[in-house]
Symmetry: C2
Subunit: 117 residues, 2 copies
């Protein structure tokens, strides 16, 4: 069972700044102020983006004293990756089926088609 759906993940990643934050956190954990600096954003704006990312399971944050550190949760991308993979598998299956139908209908072209793939 998936704790988070892909709706939230897609909406979160559709915003370029949030996607950049995910890319940055891929290089390792970062503090909120450390994330705000390169983006030339206020802490408040970064916190809003982080809340969206945390809300859909893409990052987790932990507070130690006054410093909040953010970590990427790579598994948060799994639902989206699975969805993409399912589309590909389905299309490939349809192409295979189409190939078989064509082979039955036009057996003489079978070798030609095989060569092409």
């Amino acid at each position: 069972m998936l704790k988070y759906g892909i709706d939230g993940v897609l909406r979160a990643l559709a915003e370029p700044t949030r996607r950049s934050i995910v890319e940055r956190l891929g290089a390792g954990p970062a503090t909120v102020s450390g994330l705000a600096e390169p983006f030339d954003m206020t802490i408040a704006a970064v916190v809003q983006h982080l809340q969206v990312l945390e809300g859909c399971g893409l990052i987790r944050t932990e507070k130690l004293g006054r410093v909040r550190t953010c970590h990427l949760v790579p598994a948060g991308l799994d639902p989206l990756a699975s969805w993409i993979e399912a589309r590909r598998i389905r299309v490939e299956r349809n192409l295979d089926r189409l190939g078989r139908v064509l082979d039955e209908k036009y057996p003489s072209n079978q070798s030609k088609r095989k060569k092409r793939t």
Copy 2:
């Protein structure tokens, strides 16, 4: 070089109806009116969604006489799949590096850590 960026793909897929259309087209081509029916939508509304999907390279459409048929373009999902894969690779690389640093610092725990992976 990618013809379409992932910005458009993410924005297109973040809308549940458009994602359903992509899922439906994964099962095979469909006409615009055929797509409108199960979604209980007007043709105009479907056409708008299709234009977004076509604009970001996820589908292609062709018109024969008065009938427009829509096809999924599975390669349209490639940029997004690559982006997800790049995040995973980067995180794994960081974990490997962390593992090596820990092994150097605490060689006695090396076997224990290896066993866990």
